[in-house]
């Protein structure tokens, strides 16, 4: 049974903060098929289209029939732990400071043998569930979990290295004025976050929900205007070193296209709030997040980007909005590269139209702010990097995978 995590003691401010290290993240191009699956929390292995063999480690020809038709397909993740060992010495600095480290050979029901990290609750010759997770290098690794959930299983130190569990971590919700921000604050508090900082711009502007926000346990409201570089910088200077997860809830949703829209003011606001706001957050909070990737139980772990799924494909009815979202998606890719040395994940949570004021005219299905918040928590607990929330988001993703051009044409109406 996993020992439950205890709330970390307050940090001795005179102690050195250990620098974050990563396990080796280099993979063959083919092996990044696993990275793609792990990023979305899927368990996919190469499956030969000609002979049906399930293949691991990733290859460029089927070892049964030499076919090159080896796409990654979701397969059953059950298996048996054949043998395990506890590595006590390692040549890699990341593992050296985490010794001892259990690994084992798992025989998957689907066929292959997978050398995997072991959750503390799995036992030799026992049944396991295998999952691919992104480790701190951002590449996929397999971890064997007990077949059925066990108590406190998320607190397992090996597993927690690969997830961004908010338990005992301190989170910054950048904008508490939106209903999404408020739902996020509530959900993080419920998920056991240590402190929920909630940023508020223009505190002179009252809004409904402020009182409810104040009453949420462990919520601390702080002045933060992500359109103001100085405000963001000041907040990072003040609280940056005790923020482990940043969730950017700043939004700016306006209907309208590119050709048909009158003037640049709204577009500028979109870019200022969404794209430049993200850049300000990244520049102010990114370096300190990256430096605190190994700072104990509540180490810095994630930057959560809430993105419209239309970042992936423009939705002309909200065309300029989609473009700003696309800019944020691109920035997030860069941030991933830059935060990776700290083991900090950039989690892109892509949603379809929300059940909020600005999508008033959009027909269902829509995503409620609470559902979005729950999806964020789930993603962090799972340690995934790319999340699609809601039917529209799933639909866009699926259609994009099949025929992007068709999707583009269909979005045009």
């Amino acid at each position: 049974m996993t020992e439950p995590l205890v709330r970390p003691k307050r940090k001795n401010p005179l102690k050195r903060t250990r620098l974050p290290l990563s396990p080796q993240g280099t993979r063959s191009r083919t092996a990044h098929g696993l990275t793609a699956a792990a990023a979305e929390g899927r368990f996919a292995l190469q499956t030969c289209l000609d002979c049906g063999a399930v293949v691991y480690p990733p290859r460029d020809a089927c070892p049964s029939c030499l076919s090159a038709r080896l796409p990654f397909r979701d397969v059953a993740n059950g298996g048996t732990l054949l043998a395990e060992t506890t590595v006590q010495t390692s040549t890699d600095p990341y593992f050296r400071e985490r010794m001892p480290w259990r690994v084992g050979a798992v025989k998957l029901d689907a066929g292959p043998i997978v050398v995997a990290h072991l959750h503390g609750d799995v036992v030799e010759s026992g049944r396991v569930r295998l999952e691919f997770k992104l480790d701190r290098s951002g590449s996929a690794v397999a971890i064997a979990l007990p077949e059925k959930d066990t108590q406190n299983m998320a607190d397992d130190p090996h597993l927690r290295e690969m997830t961004c569990d908010p338990k005992f971590r301190r989170v910054l919700i950048t904008d508490g004025r939106s209903v999404v921000g408020q739902a996020m604050a509530k959900t993080f508090s419920d998920a056991g976050a240590g402190i929920v900082f909630v940023g508020l711009a223009n505190v002179w502007k009252p809004f409904p929900g402020l009182d409810t926000l104040r009453k949420i346990e462990r919520v601390e409201i702080i002045p933060l205007d992500i359109t103001d570089t100085e405000s963001v910088t000041e907040q990072a200077e003040q609280n940056g070193a005790r923020i482990d997860i940043v969730v950017n809830t700043a939004e700016h949703v306006r209907a309208g296209g590119i050709v048909g829209r009158h003037g640049m003011t709204i577009a500028r606001e979109e870019m200022d709030i969404r794209y430049f706001g993200l850049l300000r957050l990244a520049q102010a909070f990114g370096p300190v997040l990256r430096s605190r990737g190994a700072d104990g139980v509540n180490s810095a772990t994630a930057f959560v980007n809430l993105l419209s799924v239309h970042a992936l494909m423009n939705w002309p009815e909200f065309g300029s909005y989609s473009a700003a979202e696309a800019a944020c998606l691109s920035a997030a890719q860069c941030m991933r590269a830059e935060l990776r040395p700290g083991g900090v994940k950039v989690v892109n949570v892509m949603f379809g139209p929300l059940d909020t004021e600005w999508f008033q005219t959009v027909p269902p299905p829509k995503v409620t702010p609470a559902a979005l918040a729950n999806a964020v928590i789930r993603a962090l607990k799972q340690g995934v990097e790319d999340v699609f929330v809601g039917d529209v988001a799933e639909d866009v993703r699926a259609r994009l995978a099949v025929n992007p051009k068709a999707l583009e044409r269909e979005m045009a109406g």
Binding site: N202, V203, W204, K205, P206, P223, D225, T227, D228, T229, E230, S231, R254, G263, T265, I266, R268, E269
Partner: protein, 266 residues
Amino acid sequence: MADHVAPIDLLAFARAVSSGDVRVIDLTQTLAQEFPTIVLPPELGQCAPFRIEEVSRYDERGPAWYWNNISLGEHTGTHFDAPIHWISGKDLPENAVDTIDVRKFIAPACVIDCSKECAANPDFALTIPFVKQWEAHHGQIEPGSWVLLRTDWSKRSYPDYAGLRDDGAHTPGPEPAVVKWFVEARDVHGFGTETIGTDFGQGHHFNPPYPAHFYMHGKGRFGLQCLTNLDLLPPKGAIIIAAPLKIKQGSGSPLRVLALVAAAAK
């Protein structure tokens, strides 16, 4: 011909400024990011708040110099409203900040103190009787004068300053009748306030809505808002220097508003 008129001794004026015989009072709020701006329904176009981005600060971006890029709306911070700002003044000649006769940037001011009334009542509305009562004490408002409304609003915290409630802003301002009267009966130069706008917070419900904008700009008069330090001015006798930036067809402009007051005047 005016050659028989003795030339004005501007040097003496400069010496008086320097010596303090003429006091210079800054009526300007500091341009700062957190300073409230006008709030409109979110689906409408919005006035950009003041923003400042460091270009370099003796660093790799510019080793020996410090400077910033700023962005803001024409109506951000302490600012000047030109007649072109309002639909009622859109077709007037010389109605934009770049075309207004520069002589109009210097004018005397009458300061109507209603700070006591406003202290208890954010919905204080200026009326003709109130102004007439002021005139009874201080004499009639001369043509060509700025009318500045002292409310001490500039001393308030930002939430109180913006005065936003569920039904919109609650800040003091003029009734329609008094604005019309200022323009028609007193031929004022313009109207200035400490609040975010020249109009009453709930001015949307007036007829016409936003009368300070409607009447003043409709007759080619100006507005000043977000003023401060009005409590340092005499009811009469201050000269206002309010020269907006020369923005091409600008509807207004943030500016430094200065008041010149003879030392003996207060």
